[in-house]
Symmetry: C2
Subunit: 416 residues, 2 copies
């Protein structure tokens, strides 16, 4: 499906800016490293600020270091529409994860400016501070601050050199004592919309450049511990075994089945340890991890309950003791119908299929759901890769996504 | 079922000798360590030799260090019946694995002597050198030598201090150049029978003190390697995954099912490694081991073929590449009907159920199948434990097994 037919944004300018920003923090191997509060992140923000000014935006940085470019509206006091993403990266990351959403939003607002569009509501581009969490082992610092959810404990987190978030902020010219000034009050924000690469293969598998996100899945991380009995692999008949690995294999089969049957959930055993670990010894002990996600918390909880129920039955039948422990449990963030509807209509107006999909990865919007309606637009990722120098979305796909963002913002900024 | 009613052997003497032998190489924690060609093994052989002399046997040690006590017969040139086991142990092993078969055979022959029994064929007790393989990482040295299957490569194997089998033999007063003198010619041995603890739970689960062994299972050891694709656990839908661990779990399920359906085979995945090993990363690579055994090589091969077939289908369906490698493949050793029949009749004559079961663990008899008909008698193991200080068989069960051995030897030594 050609995305160029009705394109109003400037695809060449967008692509040039993506390329220029990608040079900041780039290694010889092609990977990008821009950790928060470093000179690379600072340089990236300064470059983006220059683009913002080219787009006619009023530029400021808030108390959390979020870079904000504002386009005024017919009604100055009206709640603002926010569009953004981040410019920090993981270590040795790619060119698109974050920058596409920031530069796409700048491009959309510059297009409005060039076309003389006036909107009811102001629109702001936000480059959130430290979405990735690559420096301090927890991320989404800027969006947490915007939502008033950044705690003193968060600010005490340290990087691998023992530098805390607060110290890094101070070194960067920010005052952590004033972090509360970054918080926006409810009612001051009309909606938040983010353009981002998919980081998965759903769009690629359907041959679609763009998708509308239904929600951001919340991960529940669990640890399963199975205790059977180590015994001689030769002398213990199959029916007299308490094989912890065979039990774990059966449980993993149920995890896969229960996640798959929903059509939306994903369940993954990514880590597994066993003992004793002899080739001729039945494993007496196995532990493995489960990462379970869905954009609907009820669905996720239902899948989790089914897995727990089946695991308990399987283990009981096998005489294997089952223990489970929750390591992390984040609620999913559903995307609002306000933004989803606007984005679907924007797809159709751009000549694109208004295909909807969930986000399996976390994004800044997760922290903004209490503040305002949120939504996201995804752009096809080559081979589903991200957090990797090989991360890639084509110029055409980036332009198509930005066109959808532009039209979505028009609707959100000027709709009833 | 009372085993004592018709007992002719001396249960107290047997138990005393088991206890006395168990003191050699015993640690404070109760574990027994008697590695081959050490002073502990030497002391054990000397003690057993003294028991042999008490039993009226003619004692010698062959070129492989096998300790042999011979009871002459009416027909001196007749092929001999052999009964034996070993007195070496694993590190920190138990009191019964090996000694029961040696001391049970001594007891049986001493009983014949005391009862003035004369037999057609001579009977010899053999304490084979190094059955366990705990010192040189390969075992059954004495029985291999007896069968003419001990090679120069075997003699070059080294222990953890770099001492070879040949050097250890020399230090022990044996000449490895003359190892061939330990080999017996076909026709010179009428049968071999070994009394041993079960090392499993089958007899215990059936509340039986003694069982007749149908054969010694041969292990096939394989390594399975599954290569899928590592991907983001959040952004990759269940139907777009190539999860190597989920595939491995499915294959392990089939291994269990295919082994169990035979009723005789055992299949065990004892080792498993995966990568990358992140809690939120789909495993791209998994390798695991399979220990597959049966006493019938055709059955084992059939189970293996079914597992391979199903594994290939499962992996193909999942887009996971499957590799398999054979690490070891030993043929099973069926027990001869000659010995099995004699042992079953001996059970009945002793007032015991002539229950038959397979040996999942390896024993010296495996190497003697080319030389003569073989057979084994098992005694119930508490909790199936062996290679462990907690290894235990009761005095009554040891006596019952020895009584069966005594009657079996009478039949083999004097039957037609």
């Amino acid at each position: 499906m050609p995305a160029s037919s009705a394109t109003q944004i400037d695809a060449d300018r967008l692509w040039y800016r993506l390329s220029e920003l990608a040079e900041i923090g780039k290694s010889e191997g092609g990977g990008v490293t821009r950790l928060s509060f470093t000179k690379e992140e600072r340089a990236a923000k300064e470059l983006v600020a220059s683009y913002m000014r080219e787009a006619g935006l009023r530029v400021r940085e808030d108390a959390a270091g979020n870079l904000i470019g504002r386009r005024e509206a017919r009604v100055e006091e009206a709640p603002a529409v926010l569009a953004g993403s981040h410019v920090d990266s993981v270590r040795n990351g790619g060119d698109f994860d974050g920058p596409l959403g920031v530069l796409g939003a700048v491009e959309a607002l510059q297009t409005m400016d060039e076309r003389g569009v006036q909107t009811q509501r102001p629109v702001e581009v936000v480059a959130f501070t430290d979405e990735e969490g690559a420096r301090f082992s927890f991320g989404m610092i800027g969006s947490r601050a915007t939502a008033g959810a950044l705690t003193p404990e968060h600010l005490a987190n340290e990087d691998e050199n023992g530098v805390s978030v607060a110290e890094a902020m101070r070194a960067s010219g920010l005052d952590p004592e004033h972090i509360g000034e970054a918080t926006r009050v409810r009612g001051s924000v009309y909606a938040y919309v983010e353009l981002h690469i998919e980081q998965g293969r759903i769009l690629e598998s359907r041959d679609l450049p763009v998708g509308v996100v239904t929600g951001i899945a919340g991960p529940a991380w669990l640890k399963f511990t199975l205790t059977g009995e180590a015994a001689h692999a030769g002398t213990t008949p199959m029916n007299l075994r308490r094989d912890a690995l065979a039990a774990a294999a059966a449980v993993m089969g149920r995890i896969e089945r229960e996640a798959a049957r929903t059509g939306t959930s994903v369940g993954t055993a990514g880590q597994l340890d066993l003992s004793p670990g002899g080739i001729n010894i039945i494993p007496g002990h196995v532990s493995f991890s489960l990462d379970l996600r869905d954009i609907d918390e009820d669905v996720r909880n239902d899948v989790e309950a089914r897995i727990m129920h089946e695991a308990a039955l399987l283990c009981e039948k096998r005489g294997v003791e089952l223990g489970t422990k929750t390591l992390q449990r984040l609620p999913p963030a559903p995307c609002s119908s306000l933004v989803r509807n606007a984005a679907r209509e924007a797809c159709e107006a751009s000549g694109l299929v208004p295909f909807e999909l969930a986000s399996g990865a976390g994004h800044d919007g997760m922290h903004l759901t209490e503040l305002c309606p949120i939504g996201m637009i995804f752009v096809r990722s080559k081979d589903g890769l991200s957090h990797n120098p090989a991360e890639y979305s084509s110029k055409e796909d980036c332009a198509a996504g930005t066109e959808v963002l532009y039209r979505t913002l028009l609707e959100l900024a000027d709709g009833d």
